[in-house]
Symmetry: C2
């Protein structure tokens, strides 16, 4: 039994290939390849692995002409819409569009000439390709203090950061709006979670565009997962965010797994079974962690959005097992198997796994 | 540079041994032993490991007289205040108090006799021992529907859950208040994150007591960590929560590590260095994950609350490295080492780790 998810901020949907971001579309899980884009085989293999993990949209860095030249073949092989990540060079943007990418990630303010930005926006518009503008705290423009004024204090700098992030994003957005380009997605990212949350709250009130969420440079998988879960969770629970990217220093497939688990924790998306299992304590009389791991293994690959409770005590166990679709409450050497709220069997400890799986397979 | 943490709900502080929960005290990290409490050696060893990991308060299940009999020796060895977890049996509560535990976790409503509850409350009061009352969604009392009314629908049941959790907790609290017992901590836990958040928000407005937060039965370490980070993060960022316990099916030491990482993500507590590292992409020209892992290893055990950025590109790298206390921005075969916002050295790739560590050690 799950409680209602939060209500979602209305946003103007955009189309990235076959994937819709914003509006009433499910929150899109995306990632970014860590391969060298010029290496078509490695990049295509990573895209395939990401798709297999449930990734719905993939971004590639396009830092030079060789990377742009690899795009047609990558696109031909990709089961996912592809977003080209471009900095500074409008020719690479045009080449990526020409190659058929489904989205651009590009800050028009970084392309100094109005005419060049116009060319990119027009080419994107003709192909129905949206542009994500994004500002990271690490790449904010420096504050220019007039020579007759003291520089801001550290406290003033901190307090001003959310507004500076929002202003920087609005600057890029206005350039596109002035060209009647409205297929925009926006992101404001920082390593600092409260800063990211505050900036996105401010931005969400000022633009109708879908929000791409992420905590940048979140770190190695363990710490980065926790930081991302906290940061994305906060925004998603306020109804903010239309697509998420978890950033981890490691295999991007792990980013996708974490993203889904965050969405699952908020009942926003569920893919496959959810395992509920207790932390065990001095009351536990069976090897519950081993049992829970075995159940998890057996559930892998299942698609049904069922909940399965593996509980090791008589205090909270029967209650949780009853609420779940399927469950075990294990006691001294034996356990009760629950099915849709009813005890259906009581079996010895060493038959619990098998009995539970039989009930689950019966559906 | 960190953004300000959220402001905290005022609460009436209670004392658990030398540890203060609530008021202006730092948010207390606690865990629970998974050992058999009767096994003094195993339990004491686990408490020592928890303390080593930074745990500040430990809870033990006391399901029977043998467990209660083990408490004096466990308490003698424990470097941490100990909370006895008692269900139903008031004699075990009296025995635990007699043994010198620093806190009780006990729902007075589960002890049917008013006189027995009074004995426990008086004994706790005499010793200055607080009581945590706690309600888990899995152990809510059933709804009693009058025979002439239809049973509630699933939707009605869901919508009513937060109120039922709060009502159940208030019921236990009133019993203690009627005995002039006010050293209370409260918890409302569920596996479902939106339910846990909603219930705690409601409760926080109705009582002055510190809140103990947790997401129950969150699962095996990977999924349970994400679910706990999302759930605890949501409440902590609203200023709710005075002590947290992450529940994982596994080693409780991992619960403590996760708890601190959640607090760190919200700038609520920082223990030791924070590593900022980028997810790498097609622009990265060094083996950044390996470098980040090496830096992480070298930072282990350091106490200074510094930030260290390990970045693999010229787009966000220099900005993040400049904001951190120490940092690397690595490019083609070489990298810049940053120290308090300034580039201090540029060295070949294979000397980056050493150069960074030298700067950090210089302080």
């Amino acid at each position: 039994m799950t409680f209602s998810p939060p209500s979602r901020r209305p946003s103007r949907p955009v189309q990235v290939g076959a994937v819709t971001i914003g509006g009433t579309a499910p929150i899109v899980v995306q990632s970014m390849c860590s391969t060298d884009t010029r290496d078509v085989a490695a990049t295509s293999a990573q895209i395939a692995a990401l798709a297999e993990a449930g990734c719905e949209l993939v971004r590639l860095a396009v830092p030079d002409r060789a990377a742009a030249a690899a795009l047609p073949e990558i696109l031909r092989q990709s089961p996912l819409p592809v977003v080209a990540d471009i900095h500074f060079n409008y020719r690479l943007a045009l080449a990526a569009l020409e190659a058929g990418v489904h989205g651009l990630r590009l800050n028009p303010g970084n392309i100094r000439s109005a005419d060049k930005v116009r060319q990119v926006a027009r080419a994107a518009q003709e192909r129905g390709v949206p542009i994500r503008v994004g500002v990271n705290a690490g790449s904010l423009p420096p504050i220019e203090t007039p020579p007759d004024q003291p520089p801001p204090t550290v406290q003033e700098l901190r307090a001003g950061l959310p507004d500076r992030l929002v202003e920087a994003a609005l600057g890029h957005i206005r350039i596109l709006q002035d060209l009647d380009f409205e297929d925009i997605v926006v992101s404001l990212k920082a390593f600092d979670v409260p800063l990211t949350v505050t900036a996105n709250r401010l931005l969400a009130r000022q633009v109708p565009y879908p929000l791409h969420l992420g905590i940048t440079e979140a770190g190695l998988p363990w710490a980065g997962t926790i930081r991302s879960a906290v940061g994305l969770g906060l925004l998603l629970f306020e109804g903010l965010g239309d697509t998420i990217r978890v950033s981890l220093t490691g295999d991007p497939v792990e980013e996708v797994r974490v993203a889904y688990e965050v969405l699952r924790a908020l009942n926003l998306r569920q893919c496959g079974p959810t395992l509920i299992s207790c932390p065990t304590c001095g009351r536990t009389e069976v090897d519950l962690p081993a049992l829970a791991r075995q159940v998890e293994e057996r559930l892998q690959g299942m698609q049904a959005p069922i909940t399965v409770a593996v509980m090791g005590c008589v205090v909270n166990g029967p209650g949780e097992a009853r609420e779940a679709d399927f469950g075990i409450a294990a006691g001294r050497g034996q356990g009760a198997v629950f099915r849709h709220g009813q005890i259906v069997r009581t079996v010895p400890e060493d038959e619990l796994l098998q009995a539970l799986m039989e009930e689950i397979e019966r559906g």
